[in-house]
């Protein structure tokens, strides 16, 4: 039996299902009904010549006949409400303890943000456009491939990002320019051939190239 189910059964049988508790609850309800409600007091004070008939004012306190029945559904509602509020209270501590692994490629991209400004060769940090483009391509393409492939991102002199993935003697590069004016392109190379994809560059195209990097294809075989 699952832990939660067992806890429900124990608590249900321990407290709510027992007769003494029900009797105590009924006693409390009767005592409450004996207390005059504010509305009843108002009617008594102003008399029946008020705006409305007394019958129009429903009694606020439940009568003994209206003792809420302790159903299991009601118990479950309160049980889960307590659980959820307890989880909400502890959420900051729980979340702080949860470790969410960041893909290496993304971690290395984030590391590029550590430095900014310029040196002798141009910009040190990436531009916002380059970083956004590169992050989107890397995260989604690697997600499509289903593999966290180690990559080596570098910043060019204008703040663009060049990311290289290597596997043996094959490599794939994604070149994200500093601005939207220059084209994004993918370069792939193997000992036998190299090519550039500079039209219709998409995340799916990068994923396809990363898949080629990992698994290769038949066209890489030397021709006889």
């Amino acid at each position: 039996m699952p832990v939660l189910e067992r806890e429900i059964e124990q608590r249900w049988s321990r407290s709510y299902a027992k007769e003494p508790y029900k009797r105590r609850l009924q006693e409390l309800a009767q005592a409450w009904s004996a207390v005059e409600s504010p509305r009843a007091a108002e009617v008594r004070f102003y008399g029946q010549a008020g705006y409305r008939k007394s019958a129009e004012f429903p009694a606020l306190a439940p009568s003994s006949a209206e003792v809420p029945t302790k159903t299991k559904a009601g118990f479950l509602f309160r049980f889960f409400k307590q659980k959820i509020s307890r989880i909400n209270r502890r959420a900051p501590k729980i979340l702080a303890g949860i470790y969410i692994p960041i893909p290496i490629s993304l971690q290395r991209l984030l590391d590029l943000l550590d430095e900014n400004g310029e040196d002798d060769h141009g910009m040190i940090g990436p531009t916002q456009f380059a970083f956004k483009t590169a992050s989107e391509f890397v995260l989604k393409a690697e997600g499509m491939v289903g593999w966290d492939i180690k990559s080596a991102p570098v910043v060019d002199s204008e703040g663009g990002i060049r990311i290289t993935w290597r596997n043996g003697n094959r490599q794939v590069k994604l070149i994200c320019p500093a601005t939207a004016k220059a084209p994004i392109y993918i370069y792939k190379s193997s000992p036998t051939r190299s090519s550039v994809l500079n039209e219709n560059v998409s995340i799916a195209a990068l994923a396809e190239n990363l898949s080629w990097l990992l698994h290769g294809d038949q066209s890489d075989q030397p021709s006889t």
């Binding site: 060019d156 204008e158 370069y187 190299s194 550039v196």
Partner: protein, 95 residues
Amino acid sequence: MRRPIDHDGLSVFDSYRIEQQACIESSLSCHGVATLHVGTLLDLGLTVIRDPGDFTRILITNAPFESPNDADQERLADTIAEGARVARLCRWRKK
């Protein structure tokens, strides 16, 4: 890598004319020094000339640009990078 503004070519130091430490200290920030062999560059079809403006520097006039958008130029840049030897690693930042 050769920047788009480097119209005259990729500028490198001549190791016969300057010490490694001087190379490092001449830049604003540096993570290391790598060497390129002139003979290898010539074999790759590159042109190497003395920088007319700076006696300690050499220009590789037809070195590929950093984002050439061309497969042959990318491959050439890779070949040059693979031929380079790391002479020294450092972490230098001019104050």
